[in-house]
Symmetry: none
Subunit: 211 residues, 4 copies
DNA sequence: GATGAATGAGCGTTCATTCAT
DNA sequence: GATGAATGAACGCTCATTCAT
């Protein structure tokens, strides 16, 4: 392992500071609603400096997305191996998605925004494709778990694994959105944990084979 | 009913034209992505005129949100009475929510936006309470249907009706978001109808009593 | 003739004010060296206003060029008919080109700048083609005069009319550049008029047929 | 001759490298179109280093101008002795001026720029005088050749030698400017060589004594 | 009441210049 | 002495808002 010189490590730190500031602000205010000035200020730097590290606002956004997604994916993989029974593993991924989203709301929001049209219009198709393909990968992983369940006879043979994954993913996303609202409207925050559990339980139960 | 003078009705018409244009544009391009100029043009008026009816771009946005919610509720009520079997009625509401959202994406988006924090920061608490209480009403209506199912022994006695409603609502919203994306990423558009049906079927099946 | 409303005439006046300011500044400082801000200030307007009249800085430059070129061309046409003998007419065009350039240095400079590479790099090819084709038109007019001279036996049959026009045009341009320098370097300003006359005389004399 | 220490010669080399890079870039892209970064890169140095050798971008530009002029004059002197007949020698200088300008466009442009007012505003009067006196020297050399022609009866006794030189110089400059344009507008590049020859031929022929 | 011309703050981005290392 | 990271002023351009007509 090569030691990094002070200057080099400094550069990495600055880059990380910018990325972190960007992640927070983009997720709070969206792409158009965030200015490079704001990002630079939150990172304790001047506006021009941001452009030493990122070629454009768009590239900064892309980098924020990708850096956020990486940690996310690891969590999901860990979750799969955290349980033995197949149903528990499926549930674990769902819960892990929600938990990580709540722990790192900035990442969740940036990630979700690539699925809102209005934000997409400001992104290059490269950015969209890149993030989309990562998410698609997650969905396919989840689908494989479901397929295993079908093969073992535990889940309904008529079930489409990908449909299950999509339904679970969108449900989780929708619930996290609700949970991230500051004012406890529509659902009591204390109830949310129960809602997470019960919602995926319903979906899994609904997927079981009649046997 | 007091008759409106010609002048007064003219004013109302103009206001409505602006609101309608705003609803379309805000939902297509978001708050920052929409210019007052565009709104005024689509409404067939000049830019200055918009400011005679709305104090600011922000107030115009709020008004567009509120005005979009009304028609939505009616559709859901109609859906309830469109089927005889209880399960079908529950499903019908879900499908109606999705269908109307797809028919009137502008309304859907404005409505959804009141549930995104970033947008909320621009909304008065009055606006938020107003829209929230309307949605809460929908959820309670749906819950009553589910409760009926429980009482009749068809649905699981352990099921929390409100949790079911929340799960279904968030799932529906998440799926519509996906469908409104212009590029068919993650899911093939032709498959979406099937996904709508199967997703709610899973939820309902998962809610049935063991019997 | 339709009367222009006050508002309309005001708009025309403003447009003219911007164009005039642009012509001066572009010719003093070049395309890159001139800011839209400066132009607006010299025209007594705000920066944003310039963009109500011209879509971009480039379009403003183009308009300044074209508006300058128009008057220029008329002078050349007048010059042709100001003399009877063919040689005098050829000479008259040359002298008219120089005189108008000295009277309206701003126009001369803007026009010349479209023939400097460094400026060209900032101009769209449309702009370049447009101005170039106008100048080409002048050169062809001049060539036709020369051709007449050849046909009448007065000018050398071996002479290429277009080459003559090019040579005269570049010589005139080069001499005006010299004359526009503020410090009387290289040539005494009082001598310039004589230089103009003698330079074209040489060229014409050199073009005569041996007979 | 004092030997330069290694350190001192190194400094000179660096200075020369910067100057050379600057000459190329300034003449390709103009003052505003060239960045200090680019110059430093082409010189193989860092941006900061440029500021160790030149106080500002402007001073760098001035230095580049001055340094470019030297080689030019030598070429003109060589040309004079390359032909025997007087007319041929006059023509040779003209053609040499054009040829060297085309071979070293960077130098040509820098040189020409000292004769454009807009650039002059950035030049110290010392610089202007220096370059002007060099050019004046060339013109006087050329004039002496012409005077010889007059004295020998070959050229018209009424001809002012200096006027001839000025006319030829400005014509040459104007033609080179045309040739350096990338897009072959107004004149076909293949024709240019012929135009060079014929233009000076016309001028010389026009200068001959009637005899 | 309606207009649209005018404004000017603010955007993303560039780049000459400075200065700690 | 050389570096290159950091700065901040300025650029072209947009657009919410105002106000004379």
């Amino acid at each position: 392992m090569k030691e990094l010189s002070k200057r080099e490590s400094n550069k990495l730190q600055r880059r990380a500071a910018i990325l972190s500031a960007a992640q927070e602000l983009f997720s709070e205010n969206g792409f158009k609603g965030t200015t490079v000035q704001e990002v630079s200020e939150r990172a304790g730097l001047s506006k021009g400096t941001v452009y030493l590290y990122f070629k454009s606002k768009e590239e900064l956004y892309l980098s924020a997305c990708i850096s956020g997604i990486a940690g996310f994916g690891e969590r999901l993989v860990e979750a799969v191996s955290s349980a033995r029974r197949l149903e528990d593993r499926i549930k674990a991924v769902y819960i892990a998605y929600i938990r990580y989203s709540l722990e790192e709301p900035a990442v969740f929001r940036v990630l979700r925004d690539t699925f809102l049209e209005k934000v997409r219009q400001n992104l290059s198709s490269k950015t969209i494709e890149e993030t989309s393909s990562i998410i698609k990968g997650w969905l396919e992983n989840e689908s494989r778990l479901v397929q295993e369940g079908i093969d073992s006879g535990m889940l309904d043979a008529d079930l489409d694994p990908y449909t299950f994954s999509i339904a679970a993913w969108r449900m989780a996303t929708g619930l996290v959105e609700l949970a991230l609202l500051q004012d406890p409207i529509v659902v009591d925050p204390e109830d949310m944990q129960r809602v997470y559990e019960e919602s995926i339980d319903l979906l899994i139960k609904g997927s079981r084979s009649a046997r």
